[in-house]
Symmetry: C2
């Protein structure tokens, strides 16, 4: 029987409905899109095709491994002040913010699953460096770090990259999580994310864990094969992650993405986001930063848009079980070799 | 400069960001999917491929023009009771409900834009008949009627069809609208939708109007070319629409979809939903049923999923202006002919 599950943090509803997987379709599978690395603005040698860089690793000597540039087609504009706009029924804010692109590697075809762990660590270090700089700038209450991988997940360029957006407001989904986490803290005097980590460890939705991170499929997974990575150490903001946590996260992230590739037979399109607390609010006791990975195997259609709820054909317990199997096989393969 | 706009009803945030239209892309346009009308379960002659029909028009004599059948791959299950599931942090409901498909025409390739007005009226009559039957059944608090047109909008079958889902809970987006409408009513003692109709009539976001319906592009359009159709007569539920309103809606809907096809050069993929009040709640004074059409020209990507806010590259004022022009041209063409 399908189950309607409620996310314990945000209150988001998900319909876990395995029968939906068997639906026939008239429409062919999309063809692999053509790649055109020759004139890729993110490839080495084409640096002049992007605005001047904000950051590059390593800083001196050798060629860059990670490069951060302003988005040439920003969703928000960097100049001006986020003034209120409109009046009466129709109000808003000027769309002021920062929109940057993190180029993850000089290699056009590399992904966070195929890059060496140390290179994934460098990407995370670049995120953190920009996160700190924007926090210090004090102009914006919120920084969003996210990634669209593959055209089905909204990527328009193939060369591996992530995005960083500083916004003049706290976005609705972050607000939902903050409100839900505060409600739990008010009742229980505990962080709801810490409670979830305790509850899920070695349970049916537990995928893997290392000293610093726990990987699990959330109870109310909105997407088939959705995976969350949570730091064991309670902190509200991504910027507070330590060097050791950066290594633990790089290891867990690469292992998770590699296992998803194997579980699904080929690298899936996915989005990932770093969920972190706003700079301006005292939410340190009840909020807990983390990373969410959402493979985009089915399209969001009328139901999701109309209801604000989700239909997910893959129970998170099944996804977790398969990911655990794949990780066990990989580690026994390594120990035999 | 991009504008962050707040929807006056639901509070949804949208970033109107015209600069985003010019982005280059590595990825080719998707090829038109193959059609396979031969073994289409919705074509006449293949009635045995669907579960037995719940409703068909006309009821006797001639062949059916509209046919309603249970969804063979339902997201919710029709048997049982919507019991509470789970405990502690992890709670939910059994996924009990009704999931039906409305086959809009015997013609495989017909669409709501190409069907004659009277046939569109029949489709709306079928919606209303099932809406009333489920209301009368008294098992479910909410009925959702929606349509996925084209694979990019989540359709899996090509033959024109809509969907009807009775749910055991009031979905979050309806709740958001109900809450927003109630807040406005508490402050102003007026329906916010009636206020919007008054405010927008002949303004920059006004598209067209007839005796019964107003068509406009909403101030905080989440999608490029989003269009709403609102009945002038204040009623909370779609089931309360009169015969005359059905005709007015069919006319407005066909005209709007035809104009969108012309504006965009080819029929766009789109979702549409009938937003109506729950059966069980006394919201008659402040809620106002309506239809929302959302062309799906860009993909929802990491930003939308991460923030719960939307990026829309086409200002609604620009979309409304072009739709008005197209409708004027069509009507002057008709008057000259």
């Amino acid at each position: 029987m399908p189950e309607l599950r409620k996310d314990p943090i945000s209150g988001t509803w998900v319909l876990i409905s395995p029968e939906r997987t068997d639906r026939p379709t008239d429409f062919g599978k999309e063809l692999a899109p053509p790649s055109r690395s020759g004139d890729c603005p993110f490839c080495p040698g084409n640096e002049a095709m992007t605005p001047p860089e904000v950051l590059a690793f390593p800083k001196t000597g050798k060629k860059w491994q990670v490069r951060v540039v302003p988005n040439k087609y920003p969703a928000v504009t960097s100049g001006g002040v986020a003034d209120r706009l409109g009046e009466g029924l129709f109000q808003g804010l000027a769309g002021v913010g920062i929109h940057e692109v993190v180029i993850e590697s000089p290699d056009h075809g590399a992904t966070l699953a195929t890059l060496p762990e140390s290179a994934v660590e460098d990407v995370l270090r670049a995120y953190q460096s920009r996160f700190h700089a924007i926090e210090k700038g004090g102009r914006f209450p919120y920084v969003l770090i996210f990634k669209n991988h593959g055209p089905e997940a909204g990527a328009t360029l193939e060369h591996g990259h992530s995005q960083l957006v500083a916004l003049p407001f706290v976005p609705p989904r972050a607000r939902q999580e903050l409100d839900g986490a505060l409600a739990h803290f008010s009742r229980e005097n505990r962080c709801i994310y810490c409670d979830i980590i305790d509850e899920e460890e070695d349970g049916p939705r537990f995928v893997s864990g290392n000293d610093d991170f726990v990987v699990l499929t959330p109870f109310a997974s909105r997407f088939a094969w959705e995976v969350w990575l949570l730091p064991r150490r309670h902190r509200a903001r991504f910027g507070e992650a330590t060097e050791a946590e950066g290594s633990g996260l790089a290891r867990a992230l690469k292992q998770t993405l590699t296992s998803l590739d194997r579980a699904l037979g080929l690298p899936p399109p996915y989005n990932f986001i770093v969920q972190s607390a706003p700079f301006c609010e005292d939410v340190d006791a009840h909020y807990h930063w983390h990373i969410e990975i959402a493979p985009r195997l089915t399209r969001l259609a009328g139901f999701e848009w109309a209801t604000g709820a989700y239909i997910n054909p893959t129970p998170p317990e099944e996804a977790a079980r398969k990911l655990r199997q794949i990780m066990q096989l990989a580690s026994s393969g390594r120990s035999k070799a």
